[in-house]
């Protein structure tokens, strides 16, 4: 599939934002964060900025962004619409939490309940994002439960690492979140490697024989394409560049998205003061390079069965 930059930015930025929002929500609801307005402003500010820029970026690849409001109407059938609905719903408790925290430094009682709600809707939003892809049968690599699980896991992971950086910056207790971040980085890496291995070893879903129904005649191979130059289908679904460099890009994703962040999260725990802040921020930033690479591969490596009409013989 064509890896559109707007969608890569949207899924990684909103994953980070909703992950961070969920951690803040859970920690506020458990009474584990101080009511310091600057913590609220920076924490919720970064999370909501990532989400909002992500959502705006996702409208950049639309043909008619001015009609984007329509995209919440079909929640009965469409995971994209469900994502839109829950994404917008999340702003309501997030606004309640943010206003109360930043202006009144009050985050207990009913506000703690709003914080919990933020965590719940954030998680559901990311699950919906994963289901948009998992619901597509025509892309066998995506049509599996591992996809929404990975989306939620990687959002939680990126959120945790950024949450940890925030705690270091505000000089708050970091031991529990350090443990959570390392566990999520390890689980995230394991899940991603498992996803890649599964797709590399996946049985064939469709062939040029099933696509044309001619398999009884023997091996089916393309003789002539209908079009002399690339059409929409070839450009959108026929992307092949990533597969050429897949092994190298996977190594880059593993190193920068998981291994290096684990090292620097631990270094931050061992250091103190400004060096702890530096290490934790470095972990968070380099992790995003890895996650963007991972997301680029998620799209670019996925093979659409329509390519069986354009020369591929098995998918």
């Amino acid at each position: 599939m064509n890896p559109a930059y707007s969608v890569i930015f949207f899924t990684t930025a909103s994953g980070l934002g909703y992950g961070l929002l969920a951690f803040i929500g859970v920690f506020v609801s458990l009474g584990l964060l101080p009511a310091d307005r600057w913590l609220g402003l920076w924490g919720l500010g970064v999370a909501l900025a990532a989400i909002t820029f992500g959502l705006l970026a996702s409208t950049f690849h639309l043909g008619h962004p001015e009609r984007a409001w329509r995209a919440v109407t079909q929640w009965r059938s469409s995971w994209l619409a469900r994502e839109g609905v829950v994404a917008l719903l999340t702003y309501v408790p997030a606004a309640v939490l943010g206003i109360s925290w930043v202006f009144f430094e009050q985050i207990s009682g009913g506000i703690a309940l709003a914080a919990l709600l933020v965590a719940v809707t954030s998680t559901i939003t990311v699950y919906c994002t994963g289901m948009i892809y998992a619901s597509i049968k025509a892309i066998p690599a995506w049509h599996q439960t591992a996809v929404p699980v990975n989306y939620v896991l990687l959002a939680a992971m990126t959120g945790a690492v950024w949450f940890l950086a925030l705690l270091h910056i505000f000089d708050l207790p970091t031991v529990p979140v350090t443990v959570i971040a390392v566990v999520l980085l390890v689980f995230g890496l394991a899940a991603k490697m498992n996803y890649w291995r599964q797709n590399d070893d996946a049985p064939v879903t469709s062939t040029s024989g099933t696509a044309t129904g001619l398999s009884e005649l023997g091996d089916v191979r393309l003789l002539e394409t209908p079009n002399t130059s690339a059409n929409y289908l070839n450009k959108e679904m026929g992307f092949k560049v990533a597969r050429k460099h897949a092994v190298k890009l996977r190594r880059i994703a593993i190193a920068t998205g998981f291994v290096v962040p684990i090292i620097f999260v631990i270094l931050a725990a061992l250091a103190s003061g400004i060096s702890a802040v530096f290490f934790s921020l470095f972990a968070a930033i380099i992790m995003m390079i890895g996650i963007v690479t991972e997301r680029w591969l998620f799209f670019a490596e996925a093979r659409h069965v329509v390519n069986l009409y354009y020369g591929e013989t098995t998918i």
Binding site: M1, H61, L62, G63, H64, P65, R67, A68, R70, A71, V72, T73, Q74, R76, S77, S78, W79, L80, A81, G84, I132, S135, I136, K137, A138, I139, T205, S206, S208, G209, T210, A211, T212, G213, L214, S215, E216, L217, G218, D219, V220, R221, L222, L223, E224, T225, P226, N227, T228, S229, A230, N231, Y232, L233, E236, M237, H304, V305, V306, Y309
Partner: protein, 251 residues
């Protein structure tokens, strides 16, 4: 509404494509383009049509495949267009309600005025039936020529999709595949018509008819009969030939 029809009509309008007859002339694709660039989805935008890298929106594309090896190998021309699936995923993934399946005849359509151009429907289609018009910013697809088949200003014989009307070989048939007694349904039964990619489990309405088996057992292609001898020996024709043949004539 992008939920599939809750109470679909038994009518399922669709096409039957005969791969035994199709000669790969692309007339169906061209007439489709010709009709539809002035029809429901007008225009079917072309970009750089006279340049070195032309591109454009087409609802029907004709591929050619080779199947089998050696003498048993076949060349099969393969027109590909929307199959108007009963469980159309392109409909249910649409977030806006622009993509829908008609209750009354099962035709899958796009309301362009509601389409945001997110392209998700084209991703969900295994058959590549939908093509994005970047110029207009909306998705477009085969309408089964809804503006012909119900068009009361046209002669009844012309109320068929443009691809069917134009096929010079008679390889395309239009009708109600929900009615077991219809001509198209009987054709599917008689000729073992089949679904493309049945493993996708989205129940396409359109059916394809396989190439008929070869008549000769060894798979050899032979000319029907050789022409008669130009220089027959004996008989009336032999006498005429001898009479008319000069010394320098080619025998």
């Amino acid at each position: 509404m992008t939920s599939l029809p809750a109470n679909p009509s038994p009518t399922k309008l669709g096409l039957v494509v005969d791969l035994d007859i199709c000669v790969g002339c692309h007339a169906c694709a061209v007439n489709c383009k010709e009709w539809n660039t002035g029809g429901y989805h007008a225009p079917l935008t072309d970009t750089n049509p006279d340049g070195t890298d032309p591109s454009g929106v087409w609802f029907n594309r004709v591929h050619a495949f080779e199947a089998g090896e050696g003498k048993a190998g076949r060349t099969v021309h393969f027109p590909r267009s929307c199959l108007h699936c009963e469980d159309a995923p392109c409909v249910t993934v649409c977030p806006t309600g622009a993509s829908y399946k008609r209750d009354e005849d099962g035709i899958v359509l796009i309301d362009e005025s509601m389409c945001i151009g997110c392209k998700l429907c084209s991703w969900s289609c295994p058959y590549g039936a939908r093509e994005y018009d970047a110029d207009v910013g909306v998705m477009k697809k085969c309408t089964l020529c809804i503006d012909r088949i119900y068009n009361e200003n046209m002669e009844i014989v012309d109320r068929v999709p443009a691809c069917v009307a134009t096929c010079p070989a008679g390889a395309r048939h239009f009708g109600d595949l929900g009615d077991p007694a219809s001509d198209v349904s009987r054709l599917v039964v008689d000729r073992d018509g089949y679904d493309l990619m049945p493993e996708m489990e989205i129940r396409p309405t359109n059916k394809y008819l396989p190439p008929r088996p070869r008549r000769d057992e060894d798979g050899a292609i032979t000319a029907a009969t050789s022409m008669e001898d130009a220089s027959p020996e004996g008989g009336f024709l032999g006498w005429v030939d001898k009479l008319l043949s000069g010394a320098g004539d080619v025998k």
